[in-house]
Amino acid sequence: MRSRILRSVFRVGWPRTRQARLQAMLSSLVLHVHPTRVRVHVLRPSYTLGLGLVSFFLFVVLTVTGLALMLYYVPHPDAAYRSMKDIEYAVTFGMFLRNAHRWAAHGMVATVFLHLCRVFFTGAYKPPREFNWVVGVLLLLLTLALSFTGYLLPWDQLAFWAITVGTAIVAYFPGLGPQVRYLLLGGHEIGAAALLRFYVLHCLILPLAMAFLVALHFWRVRKDGGLSAPPARLHRRVPAWPHLVFRELLVFILVLVVVHAAALLFDAPLEGIADATRTPNPAKAPWYFLGLQELVHYGAIFGGVVVPTAIVLALLVLPYVDTSPRGVGVWFAPERRLANTVFATIAVALVAVTVVGTFFRGPNWAWVWPW
């Protein structure tokens, strides 16, 4: 009886023969996202660093912890900050859940960015994977948008002024900027309407878009013939069960361990309640936008409009411009020295201005030494 019920759910039991292992991959909704057999080349941790997978698992962690937080959080200026205090002090494990959500979000911004770097340095965006690269760029933008909309929700000074600066940058876009800001805030200033809009974007609209694009991203990996590999190593394959499935489980466990450790060791910041009359000095955007804020310091149009637009456009057209099939599937291929050098220079410059904005800027955005 028990085995009949189990069989109705799983179809194949624990797969022991080679044939059963191939069948197992096909007969489960979750497993059939994978191929039945997978290239040895892409199983090596040193090839992918598991960054896409880590990003996805962090998204799962964020969805679960976010749903729990939604049961207590109230998206209105009169109640938001108080509900944050409740989550931190009156909800059992509330502080832990909030910490996990916050650090997983920061981690996801970092791993998505690093995943993009990995795909570039291994030339994995080249045909036939051009469109999946574009989907990946959209996923990066969605990740930033999710993180940014979540940043306002605590309704503390940190949140309020970071979003003040962030949405003011939006208004610099020529033509539509002020209208987009008005639409985003649901008015002229950051108040009840803005908080509600950010909440709905953060909890529903953007996660749904993210889930759809993640599904498309994974599906395209399969349709484009699996992860990239050099031509000589395309054909050595092993069954995905157990070689791929258990590696993925191991990565999931590692992600959970690191998120737990971070959430137990470090508390998410919560400053005083949002106050439009007092600007903290210095007022800083979320860390992943501090590079932009540093550039904005040199000129709002240059840093807030020209640089980000140029970067996003360059990323979107890249796979349609650079279509040479050489140097795919290995890190830092010699044939791609020029492309890799240009990309690395821009990436390092972005990281550098972010570090400067985060650690080397004090009151009135004057230079300070962090030690």
Binding site: I169, L183, H188, T277, N281, A283, V296, N364
Partner: protein, 141 residues
């Protein structure tokens, strides 16, 4: 038949999406009014510069008359701090402004706007943030 069906489908979809897009633009704002009183002239001592935090502006009482300058930095929207005798400094990106709102040092590109100000019949100074005025504006009160 097919043409009529397709047209109907497209028109219906466009109508729904259009209505949806329009509905997202708010018509009624539950925000503080943009024309408001800031107290009586006597509340501001002669020669003073006063920050009115709930309105995010500075009221000047000079020998030539009153005027009001926005406290919202034209760069990215932080409140500028008054530095007596030296004008204003923004804590976010380091812009500084003269007492009259002109930019002394960037990154701000535009001066702090000066708002229209009138004396109401009840003898209150009333600021209208929807209207800006030139640098020569003074209100005799």
């Amino acid at each position: 038949m097919a043409v009529a069906g397709t047209t109907g489908l497209v028109a219906g979809a466009l109508g729904l999406l259009g209505a949806l897009a329009r509905s997202v633009v708010p018509d009624v704002l539950y925000e503080p009014p943009r024309r408001f009183p800031v107290g009586r002239p006597a509340d501001y001592p002669p020669g003073s510069v006063t920050f009115v935090p709930e309105r995010r502006l500075y009221v000047f009482n000079t020998p030539a008359g009153f005027y009001a300058i926005s406290a919202v930095c034209t760069h990215l929207g932080c409140n500028v701090n008054s530095e007596p005798g030296k004008g204003f400094a923004c804590p976010c990106h380091g812009s500084t402004f003269e007492e009259d709102g002109r930019v002394r040092k960037g990154p701000a590109a535009w001066p702090l706007p000066r708002f229209a100000m009138v004396l109401s019949r009840r003898g209150e100074l009333v600021v209208d943030t929807r209207r800006t005025v030139g640098p020569d504006f003074r209100l005799k009160a």
